[in-house]
Amino acid sequence: MLEKIMFYLGFPFVQHALIAGVLIAMCAALLGVILVLKRFSYIGDGLSHVAFGGLAMATVLKLSDHNLLIMPVTIIAAILLLRFGSNGKLHGDAALAIFSVSALAVGYLLMNVFSSSANISGDVCTTLFGSTSILTLTIREVWICIIMSAVTLIMFCLFYHRIFTVTFDENFAQASGVRIRLYQTLIAIMIAIIIVLAMNLVGSLLITALMVFPALSAMQILKSFRGTLIYAACISMVGAGVGILISMVASTPVGATIVIFDLVVFLIHVGIGKVWRA
């Protein structure tokens, strides 16, 4: 078993997958804490569907770099969703339903009608559930993951106190002179970017799990915001690393393996939390 893992670790593509997977998982968990606490989990879900639509469009247009189209589309959708969610004319969940369902439908239609590939359902399945794309990352994509994680980490360190104030109590933050629109937009953009990157790892349908499970697990047992952030990031990284290795050894799909691992971790934490509080 160990020998098998060591053998796999010798391949550069496995190393790349591990580096990118662990880093994306860390960012997703950090941003996921904010999403869960602000009751914005639905935004993560909606954006992942938008990203799927973007990917389908990029495939049809035969762009050499899909991210050039997916990134801007998802970022714009993120900003719009946050705006709709906060001004009350169109409620967040209704806005989400419109966005995500339309994006899924348009995406699938485009892929079906215009795709030149012989295996359409295979393509769609890969996009939705991730399957092997994490193992075929180029060096450039790995570097994008490294840079984006560094940016996310730096942002969380520098703006930590403002992020806490805005997340805990928007009105109070605004009344204290914090420009909350700026932080909301910044967070929306970061979430959009991480979701697009995470599509490679777990596929667009499972991204929400990557963001939400570690945050929820951490919240079961920790009482401080700082602790919750750090712990969520750590278990998410462990989950991604272990999930990728298990999926190679057991030849299971990467995305689903990571998500199920995270689910098990979450259930364990719920148990621990119950015992502690009792």
């Binding site: 703006f159 109590d169 009105n171 109070f172 009344a175 204290s176 401080s224 915001f225």
Partner: protein, 236 residues
């Protein structure tokens, strides 16, 4: 004069929810803002906090009161009930407006500690906010609000959901702060709150009232408010 409002109209999307309001808040006042649901109490508060723009009229600030120097105690929102945060993290966040820097400086930490001690909750410092009782949570939020201001507190329905003992405690704390020279503005549903106030603003689309506590006890609006509150109580 801390705040003077002249023919102020507040509302959403260009539609006013109140009549024209003219009132002033002086240093050392204790103002209760009352009115039925939908009379525009929360909208007025948001406007005073510069969270939204007035629709008409004007608000002027005086005596060195700056725009973001009002200590705000909002209504508790749902998402705070399971928010993982220590009391210290919450109270310290009240000082966020003091400096532009990324990290908290020593004077901010000292201030937060002083406010914890002032409100008698220093022993809760490391506790989790969500594990506290309603009364303790209100005190933590009050400490946070006091970190943001030396002068004026704005409280939005602070006793809602508190048991009678916690309610009395909160009123006592507010009286003490008021005696120390802090100006208090409180939005409230509670008839008993009026007895602590020096001034009352009764919001009503047709006949708003603003005046001293004594004048309010003589007014028609006071009768209305009592009847309405009793109606509410008997409806429950």
């Amino acid at each position: 004069m801390y705040i003077r409002c002249n023919n102020l109209l507040v509302g959403y999307n260009g539609a006013p929810v109140t009549g024209k309001l003219s009132f002033e808040i002086k240093e050392g006042d204790y103002l209760c803002v009352v009115g039925m649901n939908g009379a525009g109490k929360s909208t007025l508060m948001k406007t005073l906090l510069s969270l939204q723009e007035p629709i008409g009229g004007e608000i002027s600030l005086g005596e060195g009161l700056k725009r973001f120097e009002i200590g705000y105690l909002p209504q508790q929102s749902d998402h705070q009930k399971d928010f993982p945060a220590t009391v210290w993290e919450v109270v310290l966040s009240g000082t966020i407006g003091m400096h532009r820097g990324f990290f908290y400086k020593k004077d901010q930490k000292d201030l937060a500690m002083a406010k914890l001690q002032e409100l008698g909750i220093a022993h809760l410092k490391g506790k989790s906010y969500r594990s506290l009782s309603g009364g303790q949570q209100q005190r933590v939020l009050l400490a946070r609000a006091l970190c943001a201001t030396q002068k004026i507190l704005l409280l939005d329905e602070p006793v809602t959901g508190l048991d009678p003992r916690a309610m009395q405690q909160l009123y006592r704390i507010l009286d003490e702060l008021h005696q120390k020279g802090i100006t208090v503005i409180m939005i409230t549903h509670d008839l008993n709150a009026i007895s602590h106030a020096t001034h009352v603003l009764h919001l009503d689309a047709r006949k708003p009232f603003f005046g001293t506590q004594d004048a309010y006890y003589q007014s028609k609006q006071w009768k209305l408010f009592q009847e309405w509150e009793q109606g509410e109580a008997s409806a429950c």
